[in-house]
Symmetry: C2
């Protein structure tokens, strides 16, 4: 039960079997309660939500869709164990976090005009904008409901943390939208946005089980710190995959984020680095920004490859890759002060490794 000796990603091979088991446990324990919560919604919101979660197709037939990696439920259960409680203690927390996560996906996809999510048409595309708004709202309300009906002081603390995380999520989306219209975004601004959009809810997932299990505030804060940095590591890797990911693994088009003119971490880090490649990149992106969406979409593969090459030459790819490793190390270090079973600590480490080395 002593803090583990400092380790880095390069010390170990990722324990993939352990991670798969952990993700599977989260899915298996949380899904029945998640489905029961969604079934409380009045028609047609219950079906719209079931479509979003991939449980039915657009025609209402049962489906076995891709419900995402389910990192958050796995973290919530592990979080309960970190506080010495049973994994089951974390289940309402896992469900509440998943409800908030999916509330934000429903609304973000509509705001961003994204037509695809997990290889399927998004809810606003299939069921219209009003259903995307309504069902998102309903999932957010359900999150508070499943926690507060526990009726305990711990549940109230957990709900408060979840509410604060949700506000950060919303702040992050507001920043993401405002950055789209700005010429220049700094690395610090990009990291703040990603901390809000991805870090805050992963942080909450990592503390919520422990809070429900009666952990004190200091323990909850340390677990949140792990989740926050893990979220930033996750996002850095996502940003790398968004440009250089293998389409067969990511399910996205090559240079996906460049096609969306996203000011992601590799881009802002490249521009911040200075030098001739950064200058040339800055000129190209400024010209791109002035183009209409249609003109821009007609770019050849080569034009995107040129931009990706300049980002790499200016050091944006390497910086982001290093950033993922730094955040990975900081996440693990945050757990040093928390007393928890060695097995649980190892699983937190395995999850962190998985997040950083994944390819899709």
């Amino acid at each position: 039960m002593t803090p583990a000796t400092p380790r880095t990603l390069t010390d170990t091979a990722v324990d993939t079997a352990s991670v798969i088991e952990l993700l599977e446990r989260g899915r298996t324990l949380a899904t029945p309660m998640l489905r029961a919560a969604v079934a409380r919604l009045a028609p047609p919101m219950d079906s719209v939500a079931a479509y979003h979660f991939g449980w039915i197709d657009a025609q209402g037939n049962p489906a076995r869709g891709d419900g995402g990696k389910a990192v958050r439920p796995a973290l919530a259960l592990l979080s309960a164990e970190a506080a010495g409680a049973e994994p089951a203690t974390g289940v309402p927390g896992a469900v509440a976090v998943e409800l908030v996560h999916n509330f934000s996906l429903l609304h973000d996809d509509l705001m961003d005009g994204d037509e695809q999510r997990r290889h399927r048409d998004t809810v606003w595309k299939v069921h219209g904008p009003a259903q995307a708004i309504l069902v998102g709202d309903a999932l957010f309300a359900l999150a508070g409901e499943v926690l507060l009906e526990l009726g305990t002081a711990e549940a109230a603390r957990a709900t408060r943390r979840l509410t604060l995380a949700t506000r950060k999520l919303i702040d992050g989306q507001a920043q993401d939208i405002s950055y789209e219209h700005r010429e220049k975004v700094t690395v610090a601004e990009c990291l703040e946005m990603e901390g809000n959009k991805t870090g805050a809810l992963l942080a909450c997932a990592t503390s919520i089980g422990a809070v429900l299990g009666g952990a004190d505030e200091a323990t909850a804060d340390a677990l949140e710190a792990y989740g926050h940095h893990l979220g930033l590591a996750f996002q850095a890797v996502d940003d790398l995959l968004g440009i250089w990911g293998d389409p067969s693994a990511t399910g996205k088009l090559p240079w996906s984020d460049l096609r969306q003119r996203k000011k992601s971490l590799p881009v802002v880090a490249a521009l911040a680095g200075g030098g001739p490649a950064a200058e040339r990149l800055g000129e190209l992106l400024a010209a791109d920004a002035a183009k209409s969406q249609r003109e821009f979409e007609d770019f050849s593969e080569e034009e995107f490859a040129t931009r990706a090459g300049l980002i790499e030459e200016a050091g944006g790819r390497e910086w982001t890759s290093q950033e993922a490793r730094r955040r990975h190390a900081t996440a693990l270090a945050a757990l040093d002060g928390v007393d928890m079973p060695d097995r649980v600590r190892e699983q937190f480490a395995a999850l962190a490794d998985f997040v950083v080395v994944r390819e899709g």
Copy 2:
């Protein structure tokens, strides 16, 4: 402190001075905390929310806009007094309910495509759909935040009740949207929808101060019953004003709800009544439903007046007016079992009277 003798609206003149004082007190005590909560939002969401509340105009200059009647904050403060607590005990409840109410206005206006609210352009019209979604979400999250940061068991109970009320609000909006596309809506369905859309949050406002003041569940339930029926009385009067209201008092066009082809209570009650006027009305409305929005908007005043006349002839106006009085009486009767100071009971009665006799 004994239950008052049964009274009906016709027994008394409405104590308007007392109601104005009550509404003013609610506004005065709740607004500073509401403004402080909204000020927590990151830019530009703080300004968008301030515009929605009427505190600034579209250019960002200070404004003294119409923030609505503020019935809910007045009820929340009175609710605290009903439990023997100070009015101030109800303030976080008043603020949370106002935040949820305005979250729903922001989203509903966008879903319904409504361009005007309180004589001003709606948020989605001025700041775009994304801001209406985002700021609505943020206000909903803030509601939980201001309650749960009290850190008491009472606050957790209050948040749970507010969350359940919010889900009903969302159910009501879902029903409202689905009824638009249906040929026939029954009186029962219309009342269910109005109970969800208007009753649930007024019910929560009427119990939340008492819950924060430590009232037991039975007292909170009785207060909610008053608020629920008051909400239905309020909505019945709103539906009457929506057709026959004086435009100079309502600030809306004449026959406003008919222009929107709303299946409001007078309409569905008229159709349910049967007889030649109901039949003729049914034929006209079926033909109206087949028209495009533009064709329909080109109707002359006379065509709307014909429809309003048929609704009245078929008994829809009288039924709705009686319904308002029935709900008014049921609301007051719900308070009979609750032990509270006579002055507080009289103020609940005066508010109920005001809701039913108002003209705008």
